[in-house]
Symmetry: D2
């Protein structure tokens, strides 16, 4: 199935999929006692449903992903409660590969929009120095963690010193309605860059697997703005 | 796919399915960073998860049903909120087939357990007479409804006189965790006979499609009682 | 607390309330590590949160209602899954008051908008005749139900002939976020008249108890349309 | 209201409360069309509801907490999806107090039960040395974070090196049904020590505010084991 790399060491894999655009049409038409009526009418129906806030038919198409991302990204992700998650546990698993996120550019606080960040206007060398500083810090924490583990410390306790930039992995099962909500919030320009990188890949998968719904959804979103 | 008749005019169809026992194993093992380890170990894992209340891995297997049942059954069904529904609407659709539920036996109040009902100890003739009385009442309501529709009355208003025994239809998408909860409550002897008839069919589909989980689930349920 | 009559025999009672506008402010400011900053800034914060889709702070204010409405209204109501319900059960309770909904006007199908209905352009006498026809039908069903109960028929079975216009009662606990979604969908002109009557009362209670949020919400909703 | 310290720098505050044992009774009796019937009968009803899996009445009592805990505890906490959360954001707030969790004892891997941990059988001095090692590691990360902030690095980016032992704060609104599920899973001996410390305090608050429900719940839980 689909697998795309994200950031320096992460990925998004589409593991499985239940239905698609046709599932939306079929479940919506149950309300009227009929099924598909050809592409043109089916696409119109999907656009109508989205435009009028009839979102339940989109719950019958279900995506299943395997995601690898930094903990601080996962923490935002898991806020989406209308979905199912299973994550690698730092209590049972030694983070022995010791993978953490290293950004490739320094970003500074944005003056105008205090929520965001902008890429610092500095030399490539300075960007590299910043990345190396992050890497050095995280590597030191991981080394200390490994030492503790070697000394018999319980995994659940030793991990307390690991940085939130550590990579984690999880299974994510989510229906198309909840997925659209995820895309709306996490592809937004106010979302953090690292989050947006993942959300963009999720959106690409959504576009590929549910092209009619994705087209209607994006048209609707842009006309709102 | 699977289609089974229920009661006098109802049915349950399995429309689609995402994953199964292997999905549970795979998503649970993400916690440990591994996948399937052969049938014996995988079955043990499933039994362990259920016995210890680790229910999230079961959310990654998803069933999709098309159901036709009386309104009073649907009302209990829709109380299960961790699932998705799309139902035929009495506002847009004329119930022109006029199908309603006719029980084949009279049931009376049970003295000991005031919640339930028992089949009346009467002659076949009396049972038949009871069924005919129900049928006559509902048929009269449907006839009055049709007359109102013929006179131009809005469907959403005319339906107010239709009985709760009328058949309705809906799409139901539900994960295996929520499905087990449904089976636990609705196959229970305290549940109404008509509800149990549907829940029993759902349980049969569950057994066929997720045999390892169903076996562990039923073993666990019985040892609790 | 607040109690308002709805339709011919229904009501909405506000039983209890957790927090209000101040709860939204307080929980939102946890994100910034601060609390209330005076009415002007607090109102601005609420408007900002709504305008930018930051809806979680509104989940911390919780309403509890006791509702009496026809079954066909309750069926739409219960579709809102992010809320808690406890309803009178037709399995355990005899509907001995036999209350059902009697509309005061005939409504016919609307030609332009096939989903809705419009009040029929007929004489008061015809409206009255229509209401009497509904009443006669429902009364006949209730009489047949009572007869069955008197003959020992189980309540859960006898009720199958009762009309969906019968009144039911339930407790409803719902947070302000879910409540706004309810108001948005159920006060809409596409919603059925009887549903809108209830939703309008719910909106009035919301306006009274969370005036800042309600004002920002209604301003936002209207500018969307 | 109630405020209790947890671990070295955390706390749990009960901010607000909607209802209690009486709310459960009242909402459950809606099903039968009645209210309170005196303490003895009301307690029996609560025990009956819990014993028979009728859990919806417990959703009408709602607790609101303000919690301060390490990030790795919060991550487990947020897995409980039937609840509402608002958390301090590391994107907008500088962790300038730089508070992180320092355990007071070394815990090692348990041989028998590979999931847990046990306090190491070492001298007080060794325990102190362990705590100091944790403290030194986290302090170094915090110092590096502050330096990055001082150099203009965006908060959302600099935090990537902060350890998961950093304290965070959030608002938590949760109904009694979901709360009991939380207590069942998080007071369990298989839960991590730090999580159990919080869950124990939550359970104490629950016992104080809903004594009848808590007593029936704990009796039921123990007889299961």
């Amino acid at each position: 199935m689909i697998r795309k790399d994200v950031l320096d060491k992460g990925f998004v894999k589409l593991v499985d999929l239940l239905g698609g655009d046709d599932t939306v049409v079929r479940s919506a038409r149950v309300s009227f006692g009929s099924g598909s009526k050809g592409e043109e009418k089916d696409r119109k129906l999907i656009a109508y449903l989205l435009a009028h806030g009839h979102e339940t038919p989109f719950e019958h198409a279900v995506f299943q992903f395997h995601v690898k991302c930094p903990i601080f990204v996962a923490r935002q992700w898991f806020r989406h409660r209308w979905a199912s998650y299973n994550e690698i546990s730092g209590r049972y698993t030694v983070f022995d590969d010791g993978e953490f996120y290293v950004p490739d550019r320094k970003r500074i606080r944005e003056k105008v929009n205090r929520q965001g960040s902008v890429v610092a206007d500095v030399s490539d060398e300075e960007h590299r120095a910043f990345a190396e500083a992050i890497e050095a810090e995280c590597a030191r924490s991981v080394a200390a963690y490994r030492k503790m583990i070697a000394e018999g410390t319980a995994k659940e306790l030793a991990r307390t010193i690991l940085p939130v930039g550590m990579y984690t992995q999880f299974y994510w099962t989510v229906n198309a309605r909840s997925l659209m909500n995820f895309i709306r919030l996490r592809c937004d320009e106010h979302a953090q860059y690292e989050m947006r990188e993942y959300a963009g890949v999720i959106r690409d998968v959504f576009r590929e697997k549910m092209p009619w719904t994705a087209a209607a959804f994006e048209k609707g979103s842009s006309s709102e703005g």
